[in-house]
């Protein structure tokens, strides 16, 4: 019932908004929702913290951008290569980092790695365009449609988001997903029943990187420009805000967080810095008071409203 309602809402959403700017944000939220879901894999399911997740987003974006500018291959193939590139890099990082460290160490390592990559992308301007980035990236198209306006981009993003969500729903319920939750809850116990925790953690990290790469690649084709700030700390903070404010460890939470962040940041009436301060305060308040995020509350509220409404219907 609620799924049908949500699906209906998702399909009519762009027509409920009254200007192109809001529809633009709606399309962008789709990308950020995929991004937040990918970080959520690390934070929510592995129980680890990746302070360098923007690397995978940036790699996806730049791979698609460079392929689009320098080669004639189809952008759809470009997306695949970008996802593979991000996943490959994530696999390497996971392989080395997860062997020796967890917890705060993993956070610090990914933080340092992100800082290095950000400097490389910023400085190697012959390859990356330096501070100006890369512009003129091709649009995605299918026979008969070019995805170049807010509404078509939104629907394209929605398709990718639903596909991502479907993947994670299946993954969560699969042997793999249950194994990784077992590792999170009690690694010793999981190992004792024959789960090779290292392999599972590395592969999970790879999946997270792959979806961040997908988000990056879509970002490049949606906006047709990329800049090195995709690799910079503000993007990391953005996705952490989305996951934590929305609610980690659930699939609805990061999506909710992506909406809250995208619309909040652009609709708050202050300067950009003060907007981010507002988000910082919200983030802090949630960490201190409700580390599970906003989603569980919203869900309870929605359930209560639905129950009340159905009760009223019965009375009538």
């Amino acid at each position: 019932m609620s799924i049908v309602a949500l699906a209906f809402l998702a399909v009519v959403a762009p027509f409920g908004l009254w200007n192109d700017y809001l529809r633009d944000l709606l399309a962008l939220s789709m990308i950020f929702a995929i991004l937040a879901l990918s970080l959520n894999v690390v934070v929510g399911y592995m129980g680890e913290m990746c302070f360098g997740h923007q690397m995978f987003f940036g790699i996806g974006a730049y791979t698609s951008a460079l392929l689009s500018i320098h080669t004639g291959i189809s952008p759809w193939l470009g997306i695949l290569i970008a996802v593979a590139g991000a996943a490959g890099f994530g696999f390497l990082v996971g392989l080395v980092a997860l062997r020796a460290m967890r917890g705060v160490y993993l956070a610090i390592v990914t933080f340092g790695l992100g800082a290095i990559l950000w400097q490389i992308v910023f400085n190697e301007h012959r390859l990356t365009g330096g501070a100006r980035g890369i512009s003129g990236i091709s649009r995605l198209s299918l026979p008969g449609v070019v995805f170049n306006d807010e509404v078509s981009l939104y629907y394209l993003g929605l398709v990718f988001l639903v596909a991502t969500l479907y993947f994670f729903v299946r993954w969560e319920r699969s042997r793999f997903g249950r194994a990784i939750v077992a590792v999170r809850e009690n690694e010793e116990l999981a190992r004792s029943v024959g789960i090779n925790s290292y392999i599972y953690l590395v592969l999970t990290f790879t999946i997270a990187a792959a979806f961040a790469g997908l988000a990056g690649s879509l970002y490049a084709h949606f906006l047709t420009v990329v800049n090195p700030y995709l690799f910079a700390p503000p993007y990391l903070l953005a996705m952490i805000i989305m996951v934590i404010v929305g609610g980690k460890g659930t699939l609805g939470g990061p999506i909710l967080g992506a909406f809250i962040y995208t619309f909040g940041l652009n609709l708050l009436p202050f300067s950009k810095e003060i907007d981010i301060v507002v988000f910082g305060v919200v983030l802090l308040a949630l960490i201190l008071l409700a580390p599970q995020g906003a989603y569980p509350y919203l869900r309870t509220l929605a359930t209560r409203l639905v129950t009340r409404a159905s009760r009223r219907n019965q009375l009538v």
């Binding site: 934070v43 129980g47 913290m49 080395v96 980092a97 062997r99 020796a100 460290m101 917890g103 705060v104 160490y105 956070a107 610090i108 390592v109 933080f111 340092g112 790695l113 800082a115 290095i116 400097q119 490389i120 400085n123 700390p233 903070l237 952490i240 934590i244 300067s271 810095e273 003060i274 981010i276 301060v277 988000f279 910082g280 305060v281 983030l283 802090l284 960490i287 201190l288 580390p291």
Partner: protein, 289 residues
């Protein structure tokens, strides 16, 4: 090989190392006692420098008074950070202090840039004498920075090993339950730790601003360098951290002059990553793990 330039570069490295070792000592005692990495520590460093600048520029304080007031203010801010941001979540999950201090960094960095913009400011320095030895210049600023930095760290080390409260702090590091049993007020130890750590960062920020400049983004890179030093030296090794901080300062300057100026800091981060992967317990720690 131009030896004058080489020695000059080494000296600048030592001057940068002076502020790094204050940052690293602060991170080290925070990790030692509270078992957290403070992600907002770079912004505490920045706050020390920017408050000093503000007091000089807008309240016409002399440098010394401005720096002292700023360092004390930021140090006391440490109590607030501890009580509001760290303590409520410290025993809930190890990730939460990492996130709550990250939120602090976000608030201070963006709030700060709304106040101070993104420009670089000079604190000025009242003395312009210098010592010249065989073509190498030791300016009053760099000598002050190095002397104050080293003096502070030596003072900290003496205090930790000799003073009663310093011993209480070390006892808390070794065994918190035992420390409580012998009557150590561990809550107060936490407060004092954050006060000292924030004071060290603020002083490091002032030193860095004297030698380089005060700007809103100054804390960001320093945070990673601080982590790098602590990780390279090994947890709980203050003197090792001081040595590594100096080595890192020198390496950064040598790379900047003789290697790739754009990557002088990336090299330090890379050293940290390599050490973390090959020797996670640090260079100066005998035991594994």
């Amino acid at each position: 090989m131009n030896w004058t330039m080489f020695v000059q570069t080494l000296w600048y490295g030592v001057a940068d190392g002076a502020s790094y070792m204050l940052v690293a000592s602060g991170l080290l005692i925070t990790f030692g006692i509270l078992r957290i990495f403070n992600m907002g520590y770079g912004e505490i460093f920045m706050l020390g420098a920017m408050l000093t600048f503000t007091l000089i520029r807008f309240a016409s304080f002399p440098l010394l008074a401005a720096a002292a007031l700023a360092v004390v203010a930021v140090a006391l801010f440490g109590i607030l950070v501890n009580r509001v941001i760290v303590q409520p979540v410290i025993h809930v999950h190890e990730m939460l202090p990492l996130l709550s201090t990250l939120a602090l960094s976000l608030i201070l960095l963006n709030g700060g840039s709304a106040i101070w913009t993104y420009n670089a400011f000079s604190l000025g320095f009242p003395f312009s004498w210098m010592i010249r030895l065989g073509g190498v210049t030791f300016s009053a600023i760099t000598i002050t920075v190095v002397v104050v930095g080293l003096g502070t760290v030596i003072g900290l080390w003496l205090w930790l090993s000799k003073a009663r409260f310093g011993k209480a702090m070390r006892a808390t590091v070794q065994n918190i339950t035992g420390a409580r049993l012998v009557g150590i007020d561990t809550k107060r130890v936490y407060d004092v730790t954050m006060v000292i750590a924030c004071g060290l960062a603020a002083l490091g920020g002032v030193l860095s601003a004297l030698f380089r400049s005060a700007e809103i983004s100054m804390g960001q890179g320093v945070l990673v360098i601080g982590f790098a030093v602590v990780i390279a030296a090994g947890m709980g090794n203050l003197l090792g951290a001081v040595l590594i901080a100096l080595i890192f300062g020198v390496t950064e300057n040598l790379v900047a002059v003789y290697g790739a100026p754009l990557y002088s800091r990336a090299v330090l981060y890379a050293i940290m990553l390599i050490i973390l992967v090959l020797r996670p317990q640090g260079l100066f720690t005998g035991k594994g793990g």
